[in-house]
């Protein structure tokens, strides 16, 4: 792995910011890019570990067996008692609808 692959360039950073749906001022952007690159140098340590091909990925530490895992719920409709309280949390809410600004139409490539 080359050194270059471990650096988040300003262009890559701007792309990430856009994907993350964030808006940053210059000072924040500079701080965040610097910290991301410092974190990447810590992560680099992982690349040096010898991993045998048979080592699986662990999505969680504790194994789940059938006895400890709760059964799946019935696929049945349940009333939500707090529906109104949940809707009241919306910043803008009208006649049962969440109100948002225009959603621009994008032509998919």
């Amino acid at each position: 792995m080359s050194e270059k692959e471990h650096i988040i360039t300003p262009e890559m950073f701007d792309h990430l910011v856009k994907l993350a749906a964030l808006e940053l001022d210059e000072e924040q952007a500079a701080y965040l890019r610097r910290e991301l690159n410092l974190q990447l140098s810590a992560i680099r340590e992982l690349a040096a570990i010898e991993l045998d091909a048979d080592i699986p990925a662990a999505l969680h530490g504790v194994p789940y067996d059938a006895g400890s895992r709760p059964p799946l719920r019935q696929d049945a409709w349940q009333a939500c008692e707090e529906a109104e309280a949940i809707m009241r949390q919306a910043p803008q809410f009208e006649s049962g609808y969440l109100v948002v600004p225009d959603i621009p139409h994008i032509t998919l490539e």
């Binding site: 749906a21 808006e23 810590a42 999505l59 789940y64 895992r69 949940i86 949390q89």
Partner: protein, 530 residues
């Protein structure tokens, strides 16, 4: 000593004997809060005053009215001879990362500052059903992202009751500080990389990270969904056992909450520890630090005082009949933080996508013309730098072109970390440990603003606690002494899956055996003269 300084176990006994009322207990805690806590954390910026510097600032929200109604109900039950519940009349605080119905549930973030939860998290619901008195919601690092509680959007952030110029640790800093200062007997925290154990160590209290799945995560505002564990902070192992008894167990609303029997933790507590096999690993006596000037990572020996405290505890356990097994290899400990930088960020980024200024929480007040702009401005203004850092890193390391090299590799390293524990605890293996004894943290509590801003150095504060989160195994931090500056040193015990009873039993045995040691007579700075 005031009523609020009594243990939960003592309070329960006195209440059941009708020698004390729940309302008296509550008023004692409220008085303590009045004296030591100072102004609660708030979004509005205000200069830190000398008075602020002397206070604990554990709280964001006080729920006094609710607590008084709960206390009156407990007293009525006791008077009428009804069973009042396991936590009857015991005051507790809740890290403000849990939803509590009709209560502001902020995650210490501007983006949720106006959010009032429409339902309660399962562990909170269980504590209330058991008769506990909820005093309020306590401060933390924003969305739990930190190890000092300084990243909270609600300032002043919590301070360490032992020395208020020091951090209380984090992210459950408000929880640990509120318990250490006698504002509450118990607190409900969460631990994703050490966020219960590290602040417990810094504040001289007991903090238990249960096995992943032992306590339901329903109603917990998620950080790293495969790592997050709710658990107790308390002033003794017995109090932590009492609280765990109330909150542990299966929950139909959380598919990861294990359907395993919950033992009688209090009954287990008093068992003899003779014959228990307790391990020491050289890999927990080395710490890794990034060098500020070169950026290189170096391993250093653990500070002498921390090492001496661990060896003293080993000696105490040996004197109680436990067998100490030295040189247990845990070679992948040092990869805990690098793997965590990847796994936790991917999970955090995924969990934070829901905050968009549409469904709940903060929405920009600027005029916007289209939805994407609304998202960007609401998230840009609502999130602090720590959530933004996690979102960006999570997206980078899980991007299609980097996922194999970073995310998938980190998950495979996680397997290695888990295997270290499996080998150490294997009943048919070479070491056959009941528990591994380590320091909880590389240092004692550091000064406020000393580390904050250096996201790498801050993360390395969790290097001795995070392996247990990767592996899912339970861990407890308990006070093991004071350093030369009078700051608490935390000791950690780690055990096989679902062996919380062993951890509580060992910590309790250590407490009993060291009850007369000089350091146990010392009090936090904010309680001197009380």
């Amino acid at each position: 000593m005031s009523i609020c300084d009594l243990s939960a176990i003592e309070i329960r006994k006195l209440l059941l004997r009708k020698e004390l009322s729940a309302q008296e207990v509550l008023e004692s805690c409220l008085e303590r809060i009045q004296v030591v806590d100072g102004r609660p954390g708030a979004l509005e910026p205000a200069a830190i005053t000398p008075e602020d510097e002397r206070c604990v600032h554990a709280f964001i929200t006080l729920t006094t009215k609710m607590a008084r109604a709960q206390a009156a109900a407990v007293d009525r039950k006791i008077a009428s001879g009804e069973e009042p519940g396991l936590l009857a009349g015991i005051p507790f605080t809740v890290k403000d990362i849990f939803c509590v119905k009709d209560t502001p549930s902020t995650a210490a973030s501007r983006i949720l500052a106006n959010f009032t939860a429409p339902y309660s998290a399962t562990p909170v619901e269980r504590m209330l059903a058991a008769g506990g008195l909820m005093l309020g919601k306590v401060n933390l690092d924003e969305f739990t992202y930190g190890s000092s509680s300084e990243s909270s959007a609600f300032q002043p952030s919590p301070r360490n009751p032992w020395q208020t110029a020091r951090v209380p640790g984090g992210s459950s800093g408000g929880s640990a500080a509120s318990v250490a200062a006698g504002e509450a007997c118990l607190s409900l925290g969460t631990d994703t990389a050490g966020s219960i154990r590290q602040p417990a160590a810094f504040c001289g209290v007991v903090g238990l990270k249960p096995t992943y799945g032992r306590v339901s995560r329903y109603g917990l505002i998620a950080f790293g969904s495969s790592l997050d564990c709710p658990g107790p902070l308390a002033r003794s192992a017995a109090d932590a056992a009492l609280m765990l008894q109330a909150i542990a167990g299966a929950d139909a609303r959380d598919a990861t909450a294990a359907r395993r029997e919950v033992p009688d933790y209090l009954a287990e507590l008093e068992k003899n520890i003779r014959g228990k096999r307790i391990g020491l690993s050289p890999d927990y006596f080395q710490i890794t630090y990034p060098q500020a000037d070169t950026g290189e990572y170096q391993q250093q020996p653990l500070p002498q005082e921390m090492r001496a405290a661990v060896l003293h505890a080993a000696q105490v356990f040996r004197s109680l009949g436990a067998e100490i097994i030295e040189d247990v290899p845990m070679p992948n400990t040092r990869y805990g933080i690098p793997a965590y930088f990847v796994i936790s960020r991917v999970e955090a980024a995924s969990n934070l996508h829901r905050f968009d200024g549409v469904k709940y929480g903060y929405r920009t007040t600027q005029t916007v013309n289209e939805l994407q702009q609304l998202y960007r401005k609401s998230r840009g203004e609502g999130f602090g730098v720590q959530p933004k850092l996690r979102i960006l890193m999570g997206m980078y390391v899980s991007a299609a072109q980097y996922s194999e090299q970073y995310y998938r590799r980190a998950l495979r390293v996680r397997t290695l970390i888990r295997r270290d524990f499996e080998a150490a605890f294997d009943p048919a293996g070479r070491y056959r440990l009941d528990a591994l004894l380590t320091p909880t943290t590389p240092t004692t509590a550091f000064p406020i603003q000393d580390v904050y801003g250096d996201s790498v150095l801050m993360q390395y504060a969790d290097q001795l606690t995070v392996p247990a989160n990767h592996a899912g195994v339970p861990g407890i931090s308990f006070p093991g002494g004071l350093d030369g500056e009078g700051l608490p040193i935390g000791l950690q015990l780690l055990a096989p899956d679902f062996c919380e009873a062993t951890l509580l039993q060992l910590a309790h045995a250590f407490e009993q055996a060291t009850i007369d040691e000089e350091w146990r007579q010392r009090k936090p700075q904010v309680l001197e003269g009380r």
